[in-house]
């Protein structure tokens, strides 16, 4: 009996009992699909966490006023007044190669009104460098320019949430809003960045930093200075350059006594890496459990399917089939089932993770590793437990197999 005949017999046997074949196939489809979907979703979650950290701004370094010491009692964040606009200008004028942009910022909450509408929102005093450092893009109009800052102009750029709150939508560029009763002309609107609650980056109003200091809040310090490092490798260098310059300007010789603190995106990333480490362990656990469950399901259905056919094996042997021929047929059958079910399961798993990633707004990723793992392990189990009981049945004498109930 040649291979082609065997292949044909196997196909015929599979099509004879369509329900049984479909059930066995379904077991494999679910087993493999579940592993692929779960692992892909886990990876998507991991990636989502990393993306949102990186979304804070590229190579961002933030200088905040206040002591870096943790031993003594510290004031609340932003309560110190040790950083000034002149500090920022000094960093800019030093022309460090490690620093590409400097963005001094004043940040407070304030009451904003337009006509009868009013909202309490975040007021940011910014310079022209702000959009570069914080990855802000405009949906219409322009951002604050150097001329606006130098001229202490009463202009404002507002976020989409503020547009909705004050104007109910549309494009209010050119209209007037009042911040603490002082009128400002809207010159631009930013694109929605997403985020909710406290971290809502759309519920925001930008004004020139000079206007914020002198006209709106009446202060002469800044809330923070954001630096954009020239590259990911120069973050540490930028930290040193800016740090020593400020120490010198503030006449502090001991760095541990500094009246400001610095933290970089890499600090956040390293803090987050422990989170992602937990994620990785979680993923491995999910994959292991789904493989186990899928594998046991496949094992059961293959065992039952083949044991149910013990009499058929006895009959085939009584009619002259050699042991190897019978075993080869069952092996081919389980390979066909496993490959068919495996490919279907793969498509199902990918489709499932796509649909779920849309529903819970995660990035869509396909784990090639999961695909190989699922098809390798589940496929191996499917073939093993299609072959093994067939081999056992073929080892029986034909009459024992025929009598099997």
């Amino acid at each position: 009996m040649d291979f082609f005949e065997l292949l044909q017999s196997s196909f015929e046997a599979l099509t004879l009992n369509k329900v049984r074949t479909a059930l066995a196939g379904l077991g494999i489809v679910i087993g493999i699909g579940a592993v692929i979907a779960l692992v892909s979703l886990g990876q998507a979650t991991q990636q989502s966490v990393q993306n949102s950290i990186q979304g804070l701004g590229a190579n961002l370094l933030t200088i905040s006023p206040g002591s870096q010491r943790t031993g003594a009692v510290q004031g609340g964040f932003g309560s110190s007044q040790t950083l000034t606009l002149e500090d920022a200008t000094a960093i800019t004028n030093a022309n460090f190669t490690s620093i590409s942009k400097v963005s001094p910022e004043v940040s407070r909450r304030g009451q904003v009104t337009a006509g009868r509408n009013n909202t309490n929102t975040s007021i940011i005093g910014a310079t022209a460098n702000y959009p570069v450092v914080h990855s802000v893009t405009m949906s219409s109009g322009t951002f604050i320019t150097d001329q606006d800052v130098q001229g202490t102009r009463n202009v404002a750029v507002i976020g989409p949430t503020v547009v909705t709150d004050l104007f109910g939508g549309g494009d209010p560029t050119g209209q007037t809003i009042r911040i603490n009763k002082i009128p400002f002309t809207i010159i631009g609107i930013t694109i929605s960045k997403g985020g909710t609650g406290f971290a809502n980056q759309d519920d925001i109003v930008f004004v020139p930093i000079t206007t914020a200091q002198k006209t709106v809040f009446g202060i002469d310090y800044v809330s923070s200075i954001a630096l954009s490092a020239a590259s990911a490798n120069s973050i540490t260098q930028a930290e040193n350059d800016a740090g020593y310059l400020l120490l010198q300007r503030h006449k502090i010789s001991d760095p541990t006594q500094a009246d400001f603190s610095m933290f970089s995106q890499s600090d956040i990333l390293s803090a987050a890496s422990s989170v992602t480490g937990t994620f990785t362990a979680l993923l491995a656990g999910i994959a292991a459990i789904s493989l186990l469950v899928g594998g046991i399901g496949i094992m059961n259905i293959m065992l039952v399917t083949v044991i149910e056919r013990t009499r058929e094996i006895g009959l085939r042997k009584a009619l002259g089939a050699k042991d190897n021929t019978v075993v080869a047929q069952f092996l081919i059958e389980s390979i066909i089932l496993t490959i068919g079910g495996g490919l279907t399961g793969m498509v199902l798993g990918i489709a499932l993770s796509y649909v779920i990633s849309i529903f819970i707004s995660l990035p869509f990723t396909i784990s090639i590793f999961a695909i190989f793992l699922a098809i390798g392990v589940s496929g191996g189990i499917g073939i093993l437990f299609g072959w093994y009981p067939a081999k056992k049945a073929a080892d029986l004498s034909p009459i024992e197999a025929l009598r099997y109930e």
Binding site: L315, R316, A318, L319, K322, N324, I399, L402
Partner: protein, 229 residues
């Protein structure tokens, strides 16, 4: 010439510690072209004897010579070949492949003999016509009556044109009218030169054979000749 010759055959089954002697020192021979019936009450060992004759089961001791070949010394694959080429089986429970057409059932032994597909189908169709099922060739087993299924099984037993046809209670599961038809087929097969061994507990069925071997408690009780043929 003796086609089948068994001497001092014993078959013992072990179920746990219990030893069951199914065949106890049986010796007889069957000539080529003979029609022999083996009769006995249930539990007498007649089915075991049939399995031994059909190379479906092994012996505990004794020898079985089939066509001059010592079957007890053959490997599993050689036994499979003997079952395929020299012996045609007809079972009480028909043992057709479920959900499979009559033609494919009849062609199954030829698959294992490596006969090309066209030839298999042609031969299977001829055989089905011969047993009077020319109009039922593409019916599956569950669309056939008991008598029709047994005729498919007979056609299958004939597909490799075997020297010997072994039938185990071939009429046990079918009506008396159909049983008569089936037995007539066996008689005509004998006329074509096949050796036929039939196992039954019904004297009326045994009466179709030339010779009857009576088995009781694993031993040959007596042998009788029938005058009917």
């Amino acid at each position: 010439m003796d086609q089948i010759s068994i001497s001092h055959v014993r078959k013992i089954y072990y179920t746990g510690d219990v030893e069951t002697v199914a065949l106890d020192d049986i010796s007889f021979s069957i000539k080529k072209g003979e029609f022999v019936a083996i009769v006995g009450p249930s539990g007498s060992g007649k089915s075991t004897l049939m399995h031994v004759l059909g190379a479906l089961d092994t012996l505990t001791s004794g020898t079985y010579i089939l066509d001059g070949q010592d079957v007890s010394k053959l490997s599993k694959d050689q036994l499979a070949e003997i079952r395929n080429k020299k012996i045609g089986f007809v079972f009480q429970a028909f043992n057709l492949l479920p959900r499979t057409t009559a033609v494919k059932n009849v062609a199954l032994p030829m698959v294992y003999a490596g006969i090309p597909k066209d030839e298999r189908i042609k031969k299977a169709e001829e055989l089905l016509k011969e047993v009077g099922l020319g109009d039922r060739m593409d019916h599956t087993s569950n669309q056939l009556s008991g008598g029709q299924m047994q005729r498919v099984a007979i056609a299958r037993a004939l597909s490799m044109n075997p020297a010997i046809i072994l039938a185990d209670e071939p009429t046990g599961n079918i009506s008396t009218v159909q049983a008569e038809e089936v037995m007539k087929i066996f008689q005509s097969l004998q006329k074509q030169g096949h050796t036929i061994v039939i196992i039954t507990h019904e004297p009326s069925i045994a009466a179709f054979a030339q010779r009857t071997i009576h088995i009781k408690d694993g031993k040959i009780e007596k042998e009788t000749k029938n005058g009917k043929v």
